[in-house]
């Protein structure tokens, strides 16, 4: 698969198709990764690019260094316990690199 990026993200950790797991952490403050997806495993669907870190912008800082943003695809079955609809149902979230580990 060809990696897509809206803005260049040359020094990124992950590429399209790679499996990742969202970090399990509950730090105080403005966090852009919803609780329900923490600890879940999915695959990189696209590389969105490199953006100022909103978790820093939220407190008036400049958001540097920029962070790579990915769209990550999760199976609904892997996200919700007891999900009994189609196995091909997905949910996609945009998640910053510092919230992701290799699965």
């Amino acid at each position: 698969m060809t990696p897509s990026a809206y803005t260049p993200a040359p020094r990124r950790r992950f590429n399209v198709g790679e499996r990742v797991r969202v970090k399990v952490a509950n730090p105080p403050g403005h966090r852009r990764t919803p609780s329900y997806i923490r600890g879940k495993e999915g695959a990189i669907e696209r590389v969105c690019g490199c953006f100022p870190n909103p978790e820093e912008l939220a407190y008036g800082f400049d958001g540097e260094p920029k962070r790579v943003l990915y769209r990550v695809r999760f199976k609904q079955q892997d996200v919700w316990s007891g999900y009994d609809a189609l196995a091909e149902d997905f949910v996609e979230l945009e998640i910053y690199e510092h919230w992701l580990d290799p699965a």
């Binding site: 509950n26 105080p28 403050g29 329900y36 939220a58 008036g60």
Partner: protein, 101 residues
Amino acid sequence: MSERNPADIGGEQDGPIDTVDHGLKFWEKQANALRNTLTSRKVVRLDELRRAAEDLGLRYYRLGYFERTTEALRNLLLEKGMLTRAELERKMAEVRRRYDP
């Protein structure tokens, strides 16, 4: 575990969704205009406004959308020292007198 922020409710049960378009009240249009002006001029950032709204804690749920975003903006401008409580109170008293002499 730290307290979950009030906007982080994905997956939780909730009641029915009001799908009626209620339109915008005059003050809500003014609130949008002020917020858009301050974000487009980068006086405040959208991320700061979201954070200030989350900082309202349980009050976040008690307020309607425009009340919440306006209160967040007020708190942010006070935090940044763009205006003082005294200035704000003076202006609010002035405006109130126009309606309630």
